[in-house]
């Protein structure tokens, strides 16, 4: 489309352009019609007048021709040319002549160069043609010269008869320059008017479109702010009129206010939720660290009281060690540092199979079926540590909730540039009220859980720009689906 560039122009411009175009089109069309009609009318008027002039000569000419009264003929031409007929404009007679049937000059308004009694000289092609046409005219007629402007003319031709004998022909030629000037004047007037109307139309169009487009522009910038998320930053659109645009602007303003309120509410909620999470983390850390600390302090107290009891030492030292490690693990888990050197070890997909034994050991004779379906082979390179951690945490999580007789399924696949990891169980599913807190740290439903497993999974997936999806129906099991882009894996 040639006009496709118009689509990128502003509505205000297009609107103004449309009004201007319509105004100009209408003005120009009407003007052109008037000019054309004017020209026709002027020309008709002039034709009638030149015929009238020629007739004034033709009335008395035949008698004078028969009398051979050249002087009378000349004078009648002169008088005719000197006449100033009333009307819109002065009819300027360029030339006039009376010719014999053979084309000899009987009288000529310009005697010099057109001697009496000699054949009229017709220099160029058009003149010769006009002369021939005049000589062969059977009735009065008007012929038009091909010249334009100052060279244009109309010529009346009247054949002269006396008692049906052809005596000659009267030719009177008037300039059409006046008509031309008149038409030119009206054309200029039309162009001027059109220009004036175009300017007026564009001003009007610009004014109207500004009025119309202003709220739209304001709304657009408001919506852009919404897209950027700056919901509290939407400037209200001024409502000018009570029309559709006004209603739209009012509705928009209402929506902006509501959005801002909602955003503020959400922010308040987010703050309170953060506080809740922070409280939970603090409580978790306190709880998780306190529990072993109490035991450890007991051990140390006991050891203080019996500093020489070796048996006690042997029994308590592993406990102390164990408890301190647990605290260390908790702190370590809390500070999962994903960019640690040793966790960037690369491996192929078969590294996941190493987990199978660990999981089976975890099942430890319980009546739980493990379905293992690893499709990742040595074609795929993955971060070994992270991916193992993700899968292991998910599987452990599943095993912890599964009752006897349950089934846990692991599936993996390499699918169009991404690695899919899927862990399914047919356990009790996640209660609805817990879903929002599934990945919160220290959120746990198990008496001995740290509440950090899924949080770690979430942090790892996020660090690899992956996606984790959970689908769970109470009583029908849960499905975790992790999608990791391999481009980033291999990077």
């Amino acid at each position: 489309m040639k006009l496709s560039f118009l689509r990128s122009w502003g509505l205000s411009f297009k609107f103004a352009l449309a009004i201007t175009t319509i105004v100009a089109g209408v003005a120009f069309t009407i003007g052109a019609v008037i000019v054309v009609q004017d020209r026709q009318r002027f020309n008709q008027d002039l034709e009638e007048r030149v015929l009238l002039l020629a007739r004034s000569v033709a009335v008395t000419a035949p008698e004078a021709i028969l009398r051979n009264d050249s002087w009378f003929l000349y004078q009648s031409l002169k008088k005719m040319a000197g006449q100033e007929p009333g009307g819109l404009q002065h009819t300027r007679v360029i030339t006039a002549m009376i010719l014999s049937p053979e084309g000899h000059v009987l009288a000529h308004l310009k005697p010099k160069g057109h001697p009496l009694g000699l054949r009229l000289k017709a220099p160029d092609g058009e003149e010769a043609a006009l002369l021939e046409a005049a000589k062969s005219a059977h009735s009065a007629k008007v012929q038009e010269g091909s010249g334009v402007g100052a060279k244009g003319f109309l010529e009346a031709v009247i054949p002269l008869f006396s008692d049906e004998k052809f005596l000659g022909v009267v030719r009177v030629r008037v300039s059409t320059y006046e008509v031309y000037l008149q038409v030119q004047r009206s054309a200029l007037l039309v162009i001027g008017l059109t220009l004036g109307l175009v300017i007026l139309g564009s001003l009007l169009g610009a004014l109207i479109s500004r009025r119309m487009v202003k709220p739209l522009t304001a709304m657009t910038s408001g919506l852009q702010a919404v897209r950027r998320g700056e919901l509290t930053n939407i400037a209200p659109v001024p409502v000018q009129d009570n029309d559709e645009l006004g209603e739209l602007a009012a509705a928009f303003n209402k929506m902006a206010v509501e959005l801002a309120e909602k955003k503020m509410l959400e922010e308040q909620m987010a703050v309170s939720e953060k506080l809740v999470a922070l409280g939970r983390i603090t409580a978790g850390v306190a709880h998780e660290v306190n529990n072993p600390l109490a035991g450890l302090l007991n051990c140390i107290d006991t050891l203080k009281k019996h500093p020489d009891d070796k048996e006690l030492m042997e029994r308590y030292l592993p406990l102390l060690d164990n408890g301190l490690h647990r605290i260390k693990d908790i702190v370590k888990s809390l500070l999962v540092e994903l960019r640690v050197e040793d966790t960037r070890e690369m491996s192929d997909g078969s590294c996941l199979d190493d987990l199978r034994e660990i999981v089976e050991a975890e099942i430890n004779g319980r009546n739980i079926q493990l379905v293992w379906d690893n499709h990742l082979d040595d074609q795929v390179q993955v971060y070994k540590g992270q991916i193992q951690q993700i899968v292991l945490n998910l599987l452990k999580n599943a095993l912890e909730v599964l009752p006897d007789g349950g089934t846990v399924t692991f599936k993996s696949s390499n699918n169009r540039g991404s690695v899919m990891l899927e862990v399914d169980d047919d356990g009790p599913g996640i209660p609805t009220e817990h879903r929002n807190h599934l990945f919160d740290p220290f959120f746990t439903t198990k008496p001995n859980g740290t509440g950090l497993g899924l949080w770690i999974v979430y942090r790892l997936v996020e660090s690899m720009r992956g996606v984790i999806e959970v689908e769970s129906r109470p009583g029908h099991g849960t499905q975790f689906l992790v999608t990791l882009p391999t481009t980033n894996l291999g990077a």
Binding site: K112, L116, L118
Partner: protein, 294 residues
């Protein structure tokens, strides 16, 4: 009582308005031997003459000389200012008599001028052979008889010598025809040409005199035989006294004439001779003349 009053009033009115100009108007024919376009001038002159003669005088204009002589013959005019050529033509019975002859530049004489356009390469009549020629009036001495006689002396007629000729019936218009190059040449009254040189120099400027005729008697003023002798003598006196009358002098100045004088008809003998010779050289004209009534 009332009747007497009305009659007296009427008489006063008549005396007041018409003064001495009572009776039928005296009709004075004019030809193109004078320039007739100046209507107000002629009207004032007619008033002047009326006052002098005691009868209303009106100028009567016709297109051609012939129409004026015909009017004289039929009694439609009392006086006329005609040309020497009509004057010398034989009339049987004679109905014209010489009233006065204008004195122009010291003598009652004038010329015929053959004129061409100012830019014309022609310098003599012979150059105009095959051209277009404008005559003034077929009864004009200077405007037709003279050039005709010159051609006749060479054994030519206007038809044989020129390609085309036409009559304008007016000396001024002949000058116009030449000035506007409708005609290559023309024959005019020297008095009219000079007169227009004063009043319409832009017209005569465009013409040039290439040939001058011998002197001829100036176009005379004539009266019809049978007009009341007292009127004729009053008219003669009125014309003669114009020279001495300050008002009359103004009209003479306007006409570019010295005076109106009393001269013998023999003044026109050379015109008569020329007319006769021309007729002689053109046998068909000569024979035609014999059959003429006058």
């Amino acid at each position: 009582m009332l009747r007497i009053l009305i009659a007296a009033l009427a008489l006063v009115c008549m005396l007041g308005s018409a003064r001495a100009e009572i009776g039928p108007p005296i009709r004075f024919g004019l030809t193109s031997v004078v320039v007739q376009e100046n209507l107000r001038f002629l009207d004032r002159w007619a008033e002047h003459l009326s006052a002098k003669i005691g009868r209303p005088v009106e100028f009567v204009r016709r297109r051609s000389y012939r129409e004026i002589t015909d009017l004289l013959e039929s009694g439609g005019l009392e006086f006329a200012w005609i040309c020497g050529y009509p004057f010398i033509q034989k009339r049987d019975p004679e109905f014209l008599t010489l009233l006065a002859v204008p004195v122009y530049r010291g003598e009652p004489l004038y010329h015929s001028f053959i004129i061409v356009h100012r830019d014309s390469p022609h310098s003599k009549l012979e150059d105009l052979r095959g051209g277009v020629f404008s005559f003034s009036d077929p009864e004009s001495n200077s405007g037709f008889l003279y050039p005709q006689s010159v051609l006749a002396a060479q054994g030519e007629t206007p038809e044989s010598f020129f390609r085309q000729t036409f009559f304008t019936f007016n000396h001024a218009e002949t000058i116009e025809a030449v000035a506007e190059q409708v005609a290559d040449g023309g024959a005019v009254d020297s008095y009219i040409w000079e007169y227009l040189r004063t009043y319409r120099p832009e017209l005569t400027e465009k013409t040039r005199v290439i040939m001058r005729s011998p002197k001829f008697g100036f176009p005379p003023l004539v009266s019809r035989l049978g007009v009341d002798a007292s009127i004729v003598s009053r008219m003669k006196t009125a014309l003669a006294e114009m020279e001495s009358d300050p008002e009359g002098q103004k009209f003479l100045d306007g006409l570019k004439l010295d005076r109106f004088g009393d001269f013998s008809p023999s003044l026109f003998d050379n015109i008569r001779r020329m007319a006769d010779e021309t007729r002689q050289s053109l046998p068909w004209l000569a024979s035609k003349t014999k059959n003429k009534k006058y």
